[in-house]
């Protein structure tokens, strides 16, 4: 399987995502420069963590205008897989691929720590390999990770089974403990926790592998 890792000038988890899917999971991956169009044949595009264009205005507010995002949107519209992690999640909400918004953490501080997550649905290409009752230990590292959306939208997300992950102990004030959501087509996931940081036993947890293994399992029959 081939991953494409988008590189904005302020991405700083781009290499971690690349390392996770190549060295730790044994798949192919290319970097995709923000000002280029084209995805080099990626089956799954990863929008990594970081600060895209500095994010002084609003996280992801400028990234949504970048050339590479035109290609990502087309890929998503055609049913292609897109995984937005942290800043990538923020960008996906800014450009309308996912509903809601990420605002400042309730305590107004950046928070970096491992948290407990539960997959809220097995019914997605990002969660299908995760055992139903599993509690996953995956780190968060963000200042603006508090998920918000209108009550109607939150109800709709739940009714349509589009909440992908929930925090066991809500670290940042996210509404309804939401840590990750899916688009209507279920081929785009945004999540604040960093699964790529939990793919190597030396980093303390390998629970993040389950997200990538779900993707691999989803695509395997097609290949």
């Amino acid at each position: 399987m081939r991953f494409g890792v988008v590189v904005f000038p302020g991405s700083n988890c781009d290499h971690d995502a690349w390392y996770a899917v190549t060295a730790n999971l044994g798949h192919e991956a290319d970097f995709l420069w923000h000002s280029d169009r084209g995805l080099k044949g990626a089956d799954c595009v990863i929008l990594p963590g970081g600060f895209s264009y500095g994010d002084y205005l609003r996280c992801g507010a400028i990234a949504k205008f970048s050339p590479v995002m035109e290609s990502v949107k087309r890929h998503a519209a055609e049913g292609g897989l897109v995984l937005g992690i942290c800043n990538g999640f923020q960008i996906l909400t800014e450009c309308g691929l996912l509903p809601g918004a990420l605002v400042r953490n309730r305590n107004l501080k950046f928070i970096c720590k491992p948290v407990e997550l539960r997959a809220a649905t097995p019914n997605s290409p990002f969660t299908c390999a995760i055992p139903a009752d599993a509690s996953l230990t995956i780190p968060i590292a963000h200042g603006e990770g508090c998920y918000t959306a209108s009550e109607e939208m939150l109800d709709r997300l739940e009714a349509e089974d589009r909440v992908a992950f929930r925090y066991v102990q809500n670290p940042n004030g996210s509404l309804r403990d939401i840590a990750g959501v899916l688009n209507e087509g279920r081929n785009v996931l945004g999540m604040m926790p960093h699964p790529e940081r939990a793919t190597d036993p030396l980093m303390g947890s390998v629970d993040g592998r389950l997200v990538f293994e779900s993707l691999i399992q989803t695509l395997a029959p097609a290949q």
Partner: protein, 746 residues
């Protein structure tokens, strides 16, 4: 051209003698721009004029040292990768004390930015940052509110810069003393990794080579920052906020990526960041190192605002700027890389052979100064020194504990010993997925993916020890730092120092500096950790009150990549040993301890006694035990003494120890003395621990076994300490947040 009066000279913090020297170098009176240039280059901050004589005493060489002091950072060889390429690390510590007092957020943020540039200007990609922070007490009756605001601002500033840049902040230490009320310390350590054949130096070589300015535009911020950092604080200097620079970590990240990419083209001859003293320092130092001159025109320098004078442009300390020299004919390759990253890159001049820094403004020469005297022949002072300032009595007061367990709770709630999670959870300590051991342990460990080996690093300093005896205090600091590295299995190989002291023109302060340097020199030579660079921060006084003499040391060590044991007891029924034994203590040597500070609330006497030979044996034994895999945990005994070390081992997993000892010491000393050369080890394999300890001739005292949720110490049948862990941990883990958040969220 304005007339230079004695008042103008004094306002530039130059002495009449120094002014005469400038006139002699130039063979004429300087103009105002030239005077400004001399004043920053000859400031204490840039020239080390009070400390240079003594810094020469420090050991700086070993077979691993590729670059010692004098460059942007020190470099050590760490060995080869699988393909046979030699790899190196570059590292240094630097202070940003004065700016952090004036504007905590930006002061600390730009402190991080400055040291990161020092690392990547040499070609190394930064992979770790650590911070040593000193503040006034958060509950101080008059300064508490300000101290809380400073701490909050400093931590946010470090987090903002490091997190956005994408370098993990993997550790550090935070200590509180009233002497830092008006003078907090922010010392930032950074470490980077690169291949040995990819090292770049700050040299302007090659006649006619173009000189290129890259990065942020030059503004009026930070003018005279270097000379501000070389003056004591007075009432007026609190008004100096415009002197503090503003940081842009996104710009810095672009600079990093662009510089590393540009270096790979092979078109760069030399490169240096613009830090303190900005364009002035980078142009004259690069010329001086290469024995060349640089000639450039200010009209090419990208400027943030209109109407800036040559004086302002030359002295600006705007952040995120670099100066580089390209090979003639290949400049376009360099410019193209910077364009790709959306950065300004402009040819501003060229390298000459006459050794002169020649600055033009639209063709008119506005400054013309020989590089070498400016950069390397700054005044050198052998400042008089007497006996170190001592503000505490030698004799111990009478003290006796009413309740030892209550004393332990007092320590748990103290600023120095309480949980610092509130601070380090604001730092992204995992980005780059190399952090094998992050904050909260004895030493941080960062994996080097390229070589399959890892680097451990620790920062240490103890102002109380160095106040009571600067020489012995400095030696203890080196010993502790090396011990911390040994606890994760690392072999210490090199060091960087940050010397934070008061006004060196006072002989009793100068004496603190001299003795601390000599102590550090002796111990660094003994433990084979050469000093490869560092920083001196003097004049840390406010209204005549000096800080405690506060040297801070960063030591790096090497180890094979593995999961380090950590400090935490990991399972019930493990055997707990005190490697190195109970140690020696007396009333006089209790006066420096956390027990004296937090419980007796006095300071007196002397720091603990250190036997360096014995210390080395203990460290060797610890390393061997850890590397054998027999240690479930390893944690050195330092601040707070034995019982506090046991408490720290117990907190993470709620697994404590029931310890029984056999000692003549009275309980307060036995539990809380801070004698060095001791490490708490837990193991499921006691035979291995005992065998290795015996092999090194080091006592391994068996304390007892690990137990769930309990910490107890019994001496010869007498119960000294007994508590459930939950309550003690609650006190420890909430102390800092409750002191800070009560205020900040009003």
């Amino acid at each position: 051209m304005s007339e230079i009066t004695p008042e103008i000279v004094a306002a530039h913090q130059l002495t009449p003698d120094e002014y005469d020297r400038i006139v002699a170098i130039l063979g004429r009176e300087p103009n105002l721009t030239e005077l400004g240039i001399f004043s920053v280059m000859w400031s204490e901050h840039c020239s080390y004029k009070s400390s240079r004589l003594h810094l020469k005493k420090l050991p700086t060489r070993s077979p691993r040292v590729v670059q010692g002091p004098g460059e942007n950072a020190g470099i050590l060889d760490i060995g080869k990768d699988a393909a046979g390429n030699d790899y190196c690390i570059a590292f240094k510590i630097e202070s940003h004390n004065h700016p952090s007092f004036i504007e905590p957020f930006q002061g600390a943020a730009t402190g991080v930015g400055g040291i990161l540039r020092d690392i990547f200007t040499m070609g190394a990609r930064p992979i770790a940052v650590m911070d040593a922070l000193r503040f006034g007490p958060l509950d101080h009756p008059t300064a508490g509110a300000r101290n809380r605001r400073i701490l909050d601002g400093v931590v946010s500033g470090i987090a903002h810069y490091g997190n956005c840049f994408g370098v993990p902040t993997v550790g550090g230490e935070t200590v509180f003393e009233p002497s830092y009320n008006g003078n907090p310390l922010v010392n930032v350590f950074a470490l980077g990794v690169f291949r040995k054949d990819q090292i770049f130096y700050g040299k302007a070589s090659g006649e006619g080579n173009p000189v290129i300015y890259v990065g942020a535009k030059t503004g009026r911020d930070g003018i005279h920052g270097a000379s501000m950092a070389s003056a004591e604080f007075t009432e007026e200097s609190k008004q100096k906020r415009p002197n503090v620079q503003v940081g842009d970590p996104f710009m810095e990240k672009l600079l990093l990526e662009a510089c590393i990419e540009a270096m790979a083209t092979g078109a760069i001859a030399g490169i240096q960041d613009m830090g303190a003293a900005g364009l002035t320092c980078s142009t004259c130092e690069m010329g001086s190192r290469a024995g060349t001159g640089i000639e450039f025109d200010l009209k090419h320098v990208p400027q943030r605002e209109k109407g800036m004078t040559p004086y302002e442009i030359m002295l600006s300390e705007s952040q995120e700027r670099m100066l580089l020299v390209a090979f003639k004919g290949r400049e376009q390759e360099v410019l193209d890389v910077f364009k790709k990253w959306g950065l300004d890159a402009v040819i501003i001049g060229q390298v000459t052979t006459d050794g002169i820094l020649r600055v033009k403004d639209h063709g008119t020469v506005v400054a013309e100064i020989p590089n070498r005297p400016l950069a390397d022949e700054a005044p050198l002072y052998d400042r008089p020194y007497t006996q170190p300032l001592r503000t505490a009595p030698l004799e111990a007061p009478a003290f006796a504990s009413a309740d030892l367990t209550a004393d332990l709770f007092t320590l748990a709630g103290s600023g120095d010993l309480c949980d610092k999670r509130w601070i380090w959870e604001q730092y992204d300590y995992m980005v780059r997925t190399n952090t094998l051991a992050g904050p909260g342990g004895d030493a941080a460990v960062v994996r080097i993916k390229e070589t399959g080996s890892s680097v451990a690093m620790a920062l240490d300093g103890n102002g109380r020890y160095t106040l009571l005896d600067p020489r012995e205090g400095a030696k203890l600091m080196v010993a502790e730092c090396c011990r911390n590295l040994s606890c994760v299995g690392a072999e210490p190989v090199g060091a960087t120092n940050n010397l934070n002291f008061g006004n060196p023109e006072r002989p009793e302060i100068m004496a603190q500096l001299v003795e601390a340097i000599e102590g550090m020199a002796e111990a660094c030579a003994f433990f084979e950790t050469p000093i490869t660079g560092g920083n001196v921060s003097l004049y840390n006084e406010t209204l005549g009150d000096p800080i405690f003499p506060s040297p801070v040391l960063g030591i790096v060590g090497l180890l094979p990549t593995a999961d380090p044991p950590g400090i935490a007891f990991r399972g019930e029924g493990h055997h707990v040993y005190l490697l190195g034994g109970i140690g020696e203590a007396d009333e006089q040597r209790m006066g420096c301890t956390q027990y004296a500070k937090q419980v007796v609330q006095q300071m007196w006497g002397l720091p603990p006694r250190l036997d360096m030979e014995f210390e080395k044996k203990v460290q060797q034994a610890v390393r061997e035990i850890v590397r054998s895999g027999a240690a479930a945990s390893a944690h050195d005994v330092s601040d707070g003494g034995l019982v506090w070390a046991l408490a720290e081992c117990s907190f993470p997993n709620g697994i404590g120890v029931a310890a029984e000892v056999d000692s003549d010491l009275r309980p307060e000393l036995l539990l809380f003395h801070e004698g060095p050369s001791r490490v708490v080890i837990s193991t499921a394999d006691p035979g291995v621990v005992e065998t290795i300890a015996a092999h090194h001739g080091v006592p391994a005292v068996r304390l007892g076994q690990t137990v769930r949720n309990r910490l107890a110490v019994v001496n010869r049948g007498e119960a000294l300490i007994g508590t459930e862990l939950d309550a003690l941990k609650e006190r420890w883990s909430t102390a800092l947040a409750s002191q800070l958040e009560a205020e900040l969220h009003v």
